[in-house]
């Protein structure tokens, strides 16, 4: 049956059979049953419920082999249910001394599985000690599996397990130096390489080692490993020892060891990249790349440059390329780029695109002089024209345009390249462009008369595709314009071409031909008196000016941008010259704006972040200047309060009331009733709004603090339920009295706060649990009305509680197979809503992805073919709706980061709407700057702004 399954057929007819075999009394039958079950079923399968009892009986039973089988099953496919019912038994087995190692090692990994399913099964405090005990184990099998468990635990929370650290070091010492290992666990003379690797991996999860003794021992061991490993004949032994060695290297890097040790590592790596064994060479290169990040060693790595360059010839050149890319700087850029160019000739086809992109970036970043850069790029285009993306040549054009000194040189070069017999189409594009613009600068040189230039370009015309022809036409027009006095023969030639293309089927070409023809005729007529014509070049250059203005520091920025994207062909290529009608010289509009788009964008980004920052500062200081009386409330109501003139409390309250009444869904204050704040003279510490927003993202932290009291919060969320604990801490040496806490829950939340004591003793902390049940999706926020009396001060504060929509989300990554059917099945409002959001706080795509992620919305990369779009999904839990899958798609515009289009779909219309508004709020406002400083008319009653289903949207729906 397994065989059938493996061949790719569904065998659900046999599932029942397999599960019932588990409860068979005989070993072979049971064995088969277990194995088949664990291979065929997954953790959510219904049949597993049937088996859960048998499995449990086996685990607590006496028969060791049965125990093993059951543990293996659970370890492989155990789900949450298993975790809850079996965890204690498994723990007992793991720790009991009466069990044989055979059972215990399985128990360790079984527990690991259960821990992954439900982290609560391992109690942090108690386990650290038990783990240390476990690590004293002599049996290597148990040790290996315990180490895996430890790695998982430590990666989750390294602080709790620091006691295990010395143990790990000891194990490592025992294995590596003393070779104190039973015969059967040595592998080609190496004491269990896997355990060594695992141990070192575990050590990498601890940030640093404080204890100097442990540290020294560890370094001694590492030193021993580094020195003691040598290349040997036997492949297996060689591999195993190098496995250990590489892990040791990683550990050394992690520990940030002394310089001496580092350079020793680099020397070792240098040796590796020279060996013949491809695996070791590959890893050597990879580790060297990693090492670059650690810094300090660049100089020593550079010594190996020659060797790395030879490795480029490897079949697996990726690593070498990455490394070269990383180590390149101003001193060696010229050599490296030239090597890359040379290599480009022989490189594998799949590699060429990446190779040329990297070469282009490096050339741009570290160009010692611009003519060299132009050379490099032109060579690049010549050698790998098919593989480079358009933005590379856009960049050259941009550079040339902006550097007057460069223009003659570039034009000469372009001519040179174009004269060659077989020229790539991209090359034709660049050269035609440059020649069209600047060939007049060469006019005095021999062989560069407009006529000759024209004939050079024109030679290429028959061989190019329709996208290039417009460029050529423009070049002709320009040459013609620059030829003064006009050359009749040339003019006629060019006119013939224009007339020929006037009837071209391609709209773009046709348009241009007609326009140029008309223009140049007109030009010829008026050129003698020099009246109208100069406009043409004028306008041209004004466009260029714009481009210049827009790119302040382009080299750096675009390199960064390219680097960030790594994928060359998105941002810039999107806009492919649209047929522009109307504009007389439509030629370069399309292109230049394409070129400059990202730069504009970048500068704008910079500008606006600065702007936002300054705003933020302004806001903060403003808050501080507020009269104390209005403070807590002002923070709650954000923009309203800031506007409120000092002292005019009553008026302000009135306005607040009226505004509250006018819109039931006002900013955040739906549940706030204006209160008497006159007696309140306590100044909070820190910005309440900031704290609230921080708590929206994490589950514990400080909600409020003033000189007398600190309110902390700790929350746990599970599906639609939540449990918050409020920590009320008295910071003073005298008690706080008349403490009152009242929860004002919005309609969609059911909240129960346990009793809050009337008095908080001096320097004491009181915990008040608060149960939350989410009934329906809504963005409203619960408010805690808290008051206390200190001395004669009566303090009353209203705090928003971070029980917000995103807490009831559970990230859910989906695959394309799951996503698309659902996306299609939810069509149109109200289940699926779409909105164009403007005024978005500009952020890069990864940043936005992070933001969504922090709101527990999982991004599914790669689902959307357009890299500027994000597709994400999550599950929402509430009592009414149970679990609902929500799908999100955000389309961004790389040219304008302040707007995006958002589409949301879920099975529940309210949820769709609420979630859309929620995400929008997060995207539009930066949390600390509560909307704009001027109070906008508080959110008009929420009317779903569903744009009419335009065809584009319909198309987009189909992705």
């Amino acid at each position: 049956m397994l065989y059938i399954y493996m061949l790719g057929y569904d065998v659900d007819f046999g599932h029942m059979e397999a599960v019932s075999l588990i409860s068979a009394p005989k070993y072979p039958e049971k064995q088969v049953g277990y194995i088949v079950t664990s291979c065929l079923l997954n953790e959510n399968h219904d049949f597993l419920r049937l088996a859960i009892n048998t499995v449990r009986n086996d685990i607590i039973g006496r028969n060791e082999t049965f125990q093993c089988l059951a543990l293996t099953l659970v370890g492989n496919i155990g789900g949450r249910e298993f975790a809850e019912s079996l965890a204690p038994d498994v723990q007992k087995l793991l720790l009991s001394s009466s069990c044989r190692p055979l059972v215990r090692k399985k128990a360790a990994l079984c527990l690991l599985r259960l821990f992954r399913k439900n982290p609560d099964v391992v109690n942090v405090d108690g386990w650290a000690d038990r783990m240390t005990q476990l690590l004293d184990e002599r049996d290597l099998g148990v040790l290996t599996s315990s180490m895996s468990l430890l790695v998982a635990l430590v990666s989750n929370n390294h602080e709790a397990y620091w006691t295990c650290l010395p143990k790990c070091v000891k194990i490592l010492e025992r294995l590596a130096r003393n070779q104190d290992v039973p015969q059967e666990y040595t592998y080609y003379g190496i004491p269990s390489p896997w355990l060594q690797v695992k141990t070192m991996r575990a050590l990498q999860y601890f940030p640093t080692i404080e204890d100097p003794n442990t540290r020294r021992t560890l370094f001694e061991v590492l030193q021993w490993i580094l020195m003691g490993t040598d290349v040997v004949k036997n492949v297996n032994k060689n591999n195993a020892s190098h496995a250990v060695l590489f892990e040791a290297l990683a550990l050394v890097m992690h520990l940030d060891a002394e310089k001496e040790m580092m350079s020793q590592c680099v020397a070792l790596l240098g040796k590796f990249i020279a060996v013949r064994e491809p695996n070791i060479r590959y890893l050597g290169l990879e580790n060297m790349t990693r090492m670059l990040i650690v810094a300090d060693v660049q100089e020593s790595i550079k010594r190996h440059q020659a060797q790395i360059i030879t490795s480029l010839k490897d079949p697996d050149i990726r690593r070498a390329l990455d490394l070269l890319y990383g180590m390149c700087d101003i001193t060696n850029a010229k050599d490296i780029v030239e090597e890359l160019l040379q290599y480009l000739n022989s490189a594998d086809f799949t590699m060429r695109e990446e190779l040329s992109l990297k070469a282009a970036i490096l050339a741009e970043k570290f160009a010692p002089d611009l003519s060299w850069y132009v050379d490099v790029i032109l060579q690049l285009i010549e050698k790998a024209g098919d593989f480079i993306s358009d933005d590379i040549w856009f960049r050259v054009v941009q550079f040339v345009t902006n550097n007057d000194d460069l223009q003659p040189y570039a034009a000469a070069k372009a001519k040179e390249y174009l004269e060659k017999p077989a020229v790539d189409e991209k090359m034709v594009k660049v050269c035609a462009y440059i020649l069209g613009e600047y060939s007049h600068l060469l006019a005095r040189r021999p062989g560069c008369s407009p006529k000759e230039i024209f004939s050079i370009i024109h030679e290429k015309l028959p061989s190019v595709s329709t996208t290039t022809i417009p460029l050529l036409l423009s070049a002709y027009a320009k040459i013609l314009m620059h030829t003064q006095p006009p050359d009749q023969v040339l003019q006629n030639q060019i006119w013939t071409i224009f007339t020929k293309y006037e009837s071209c089927i391609d709209a773009e070409i046709q348009q241009r031909a007609v326009e140029y023809f008309a223009l140049s005729r007109k030009g010829a007529a008026v050129m003698d008196i020099l009246a109208e014509m100069p406009k043409f070049p004028e306008r041209q250059s004004s466009l260029i000016k714009k481009a210049e203005d827009a790119e302040a520091d382009t080299a750096e920025q675009s390199a960064l941008k390219l680097r960030a994207q790594q994928q060359p062909s998105n941002a810039l290529v999107v806009t492919d010259q649209h047929p522009s009608n109307g504009e007389p010289p439509p030629v370069f509009v399309g292109q230049l704006s394409v070129v400059k788009a990202p730069n504009m964008n970048n500068t704008k980004d910079h500008y606006s972040t600065e702007h936002v920052l300054s705003q933020e500062n302004g806001n903060l200081s403003q808050v501080d200047q507020q009269p104390p009386s209005a403070d807590p409330l002002s923070d709650l109501l954000g923009p309203l309060a800031i506007e409120g003139p000092p002292g005019a409390t009553v008026q302000y309250e009135n306005s607040a009331v009226s505004e509250l009444e006018s819109g039931p869904d006002v900013v955040d204050g739906s549940a706030i009733v204006p209160v008497e704040v006159g007696t309140n003279t306590i100044q909070p510490i820190g910005n309440i709004a900031v704290r609230f927003h921080a708590l929206c993202l994490k589950d514990s932290g400080v909600l409020y603090e003033d000189p007398y009291i600190q309110i902390g919060i700790k929350a746990e969320w599970r599906a639609h339920q939540g449990r918050l604990v409020l920590f009320l801490g008295n910071k003073n040496t005298s008690p706080l009295v008349s403490v009152q806490a009242l929860i004002l829950p919005p309609a969609h939340l059911k909240m129960e706060l346990s009793l809050v004591p009337d008095t908080i003793p001096p320097r004491a902390q009181v915990q008040c649990p608060l149960e939350v049940v989410n009934l329906r999706p809504s963005r409203d926020v619960a408010v805690l009305d808290f008051s206390y009396k200190f001395g004669t001060h009566m303090v009353n504060i209203k705090l928003r509680l971070p029980a917000v929509l995103n807490k009831f989300l559970q990230p859910l990554p989906v695959s394309a197979e799951e996503f698309f059917p659902q996306w299609r099945s939810l069509s149109g409002p109200p289940s699926k809503l779409q909105e164009v959001v403007r005024g978005v706080r500009p952020m890069a795509l990864p940043e936005m992805a992070n933001l969504l992620h922090s709101y527990r919305i999982a991004i599914s990369p790669g689902l959307d073919p357009n890299p500027n779009n994000l597709v994400a999904s999550t599950t929402f839990y509430s009592e009414d709706t149970r679990a609902i899958v929500c799908l999100v798609r955000i389309e961004t515009d790389p040219a304008d980061r302040t707007q995006l289009r958002m589409t949301l779909a879920s099975g529940d219309p309210t949820l769709t709407f609420e979630l859309k508004e929620f995400i929008k709020e997060q995207l539009v406002s930066i949390p600390t700057v509560a909307q704009a400083p001027t109070p906008p008319p508080p959110a008009a009653p929420p009317t779903p702004q569903i744009p009419p289903n335009d065809p584009a949207a319909l198309l987009a729906d189909l992705l």
């Binding site: 070993y27 064995q31 399985k106 591999n239």
Partner: protein
Amino acid sequence: MGIRFILMVNKQGQTRLAQYFEWLTLEERRALEGEIVRKCLARNEQQCSFVEHRNYKIVYRRYASLFFLVGVDNDENELAILEFIHLLVETMDRHFGNVCELDIMFHLEKAHFMLEEMVMNGCIVETSKANILTPVQLLEKT
């Protein structure tokens, strides 16, 4: 989680043994196997035994006509996995005596038992050959 799957594939690209430590549907498995096998079988001797595929790495090793492919997380130690494959082969060798493709085909369940003993939930449990083989021998006795 370490190891994600272990595949044994012959030279013709037919899967001989497959063990997954993460749940994939049948279609996903088929697609994945197809992609990987095409990728790995096309490589030659001079290339290294590690291939990056999607978001994880594949470590492979060839024994006569049989390819052993192991999918691992990106941060896993490649050489250690490479040697783990060899250990697996040695273990099978010890049990079957000069193991070949047919042994695995006809004693699929035993191969699974061994694997089960060595890897659990994507982590290596046992590396001592004797310990791995005890349960399998026990099975034969009864």
